[in-house]
Symmetry: C2
Subunit: 375 residues, 2 copies
Amino acid sequence: MKIGLLGFGTVGRGVYELTSSRQDMQVVRILCRRDLTLPDVLVTHDFQDILQDPTIDTVVEAIGGLHPAWEYVSAAIQAGKHVVTANKALVATYYDQLLPMTQEKGVFFRCTASVGGGIGWLSELERVRRCETVRQVGGIMNGTCNYILDAMTTRGLTYDDALAQAQTLGYAEADPTTDVDGFDTWHKLIVSANIAFGVSLETSQIPVSGIRRIQACDVQAFRERGLTCKLVSTARDVGGVFSAYVQPTLFPACEPEAIVPTNYNLITLVGNTSGRQSFLGQGAGRYPTAYNVVQDCVDFLRGQGFYGVYGPKVSVSNQEKLMYYVRGGSDAWLEDNVAQHWGSAVITRPVAVEQMHQWLREHPSVFLAALPEKR
Amino acid sequence: MKIGLLGFGTVGRGVYELTSSRQDMQVVRILCRRDLTLPDVLVTHDFQDILQDPTIDTVVEAIGGLHPAWEYVSAAIQAGKHVVTANKALVATYYDQLLPMTQEKGVFFRCTASVGGGIGWLSELERVRRCETVRQVGGIMNGTCNYILDAMTTRGLTYDDALAQAQTLGYAEADPTTDVDGFDTWHKLIVSANIAFGVSLETSQIPVSGIRRIQACDVQAFRERGLTCKLVSTARDVGGVFSAYVQPTLFPACEPEAIVPTNYNLITLVGNTSGRQSFLGQGAGRYPTAYNVVQDCVDFLRGQGFYGVYGPKVSVSNQEKLMYYVRGGSDAWLEDNVAQHWGSAVITRPVAVEQMHQWLREHPSVFLAALPEKR
């Protein structure tokens, strides 16, 4: 396998290093903006050098972002090259163009490292689907948010101090929007659910609410009641009715989610016969991510392309009812749905997830968190 | 695929049910002591009816125990039939006869359900080994022990009451020896380590110490210091030097092991590039176990036999040094190695795992637990 590598940052360099000792695959060209000299590889500033090299059968996209990553990936597919990426935003955003294009061109496509870093999460979904139906996927998919929430809960930090520490440690970007507003988790949920259920969820119907508005007083209120707040994604397939959402969620101490430490992920699937399986690991980092990119290349060598079928577009209906902790806003609708007061915050009666998030869009300064579901 | 199913208990019935709707495999004969009538399957009391049926290509062993399971499995292999089992005792005990025999006869052999029930643990080890070296495996592999320790820790039960509850709930056998003395964990560690490292560990050099001697006073001493006791297996490959042991181990609250609830398992691998990955799930039960048996059959249909190479016999050298909590016995050697006193118990200086377990064999009424390693 001859690989054209796009990007030579954290992940790209990792892929180069991990493949350098392998006999079955070889990075032969690298697209890199910087001037770079490597002993055994041609480094270029021009993507065409990779696209038009007929010896390159596989493109590994490690640039990140949507553009020009999407233009490069789609051009590579059109040129008949297999593609591996760790870019969850790209896969979630262009799913309905990407998958039909790979089918039409008969090329392989995998993105295992896009969810869970070094965890074999998407490949395990592929394995599970050989034998049973996946009923639910989701969990703690973003290490930055978990680090912040864990620091606030276990060490009593303010949100700002916890975020600053995460930035110092390299767990959070200078602009943390993608993480703290939940978009990273949202992308990972979309990729996971599409593969788990064999469909393409209508992404505009998947609400996301992050942790930017959480305050020490919220954490204190949760702690007094034995609850821990985590940013959690959930997607379910209940006999062809799909739900999917990302929101802060409270867990009692006995639930595994409650104690996921620092920047760890805990990603869970529920199969109809295998039951609940969770994967705990650090969902990012150079070598874990590069490792799963190499695993995808090994799958290509074994003739294994995408994880399953590219399924039809389906709508998402978040009619399941949850109780919510809501602080920082009120109106007649909320007053009508109050079940309890926790200090200045309220606990709602069970309300439909869709309705709660609709209300939240009109009250953007509110912090909310779903209460534990009865199990 | 035509399956001859040995046994129709918890797992056997599950395999029958899960395969009954599949087109690609079919249980055609069942060996069962009871008289049983099924619409589509011939039930027999005589193993020869399965062994001598040339249409049966695969034998699923779901009897449990060593005998006659081993005689049946080895006869099936000799007759050129593929074998799937969930029997960890059988695989761990006969590894060095079983694997060469399957190689010689060119038949497939898998045992995914033998460790972790419905968790794809052994199959993930197989996947990891395609791309990297596994440095460490182990964890909480026995739901019965975890239930007992969790009940003692979080609900303050005595050992006897916790065991009785586990028995009432069906998590523990009437004779709990295999679980509480650590042999179940020991078998699972041997199977996992052999597959993870591609070797055959010298099992006589793998010490095991269980939880039978733990008392409420021990749990109290741990709780006062923020520690939780779990029965844990550990196996490491440090550049070809192997260590492996099973022992009660203490974890601070920030470690994921500390909060594994009720009868859950938490099984971990450390890869040299992917880092730490842990699998959390209920490691037993009819459908989870039967599910992984069916997965093994699917792998056979895809031409995938055993997880990797059958490696050479290697000796185990537990020279790594740990500090231990020791209660219930003393002598000159222990006095010489005391670092601290915790009430009537002592904390040792770092001593070699091998040496500690040697001492324990001469003091069988002692309870010990390893202190957390510095990370």
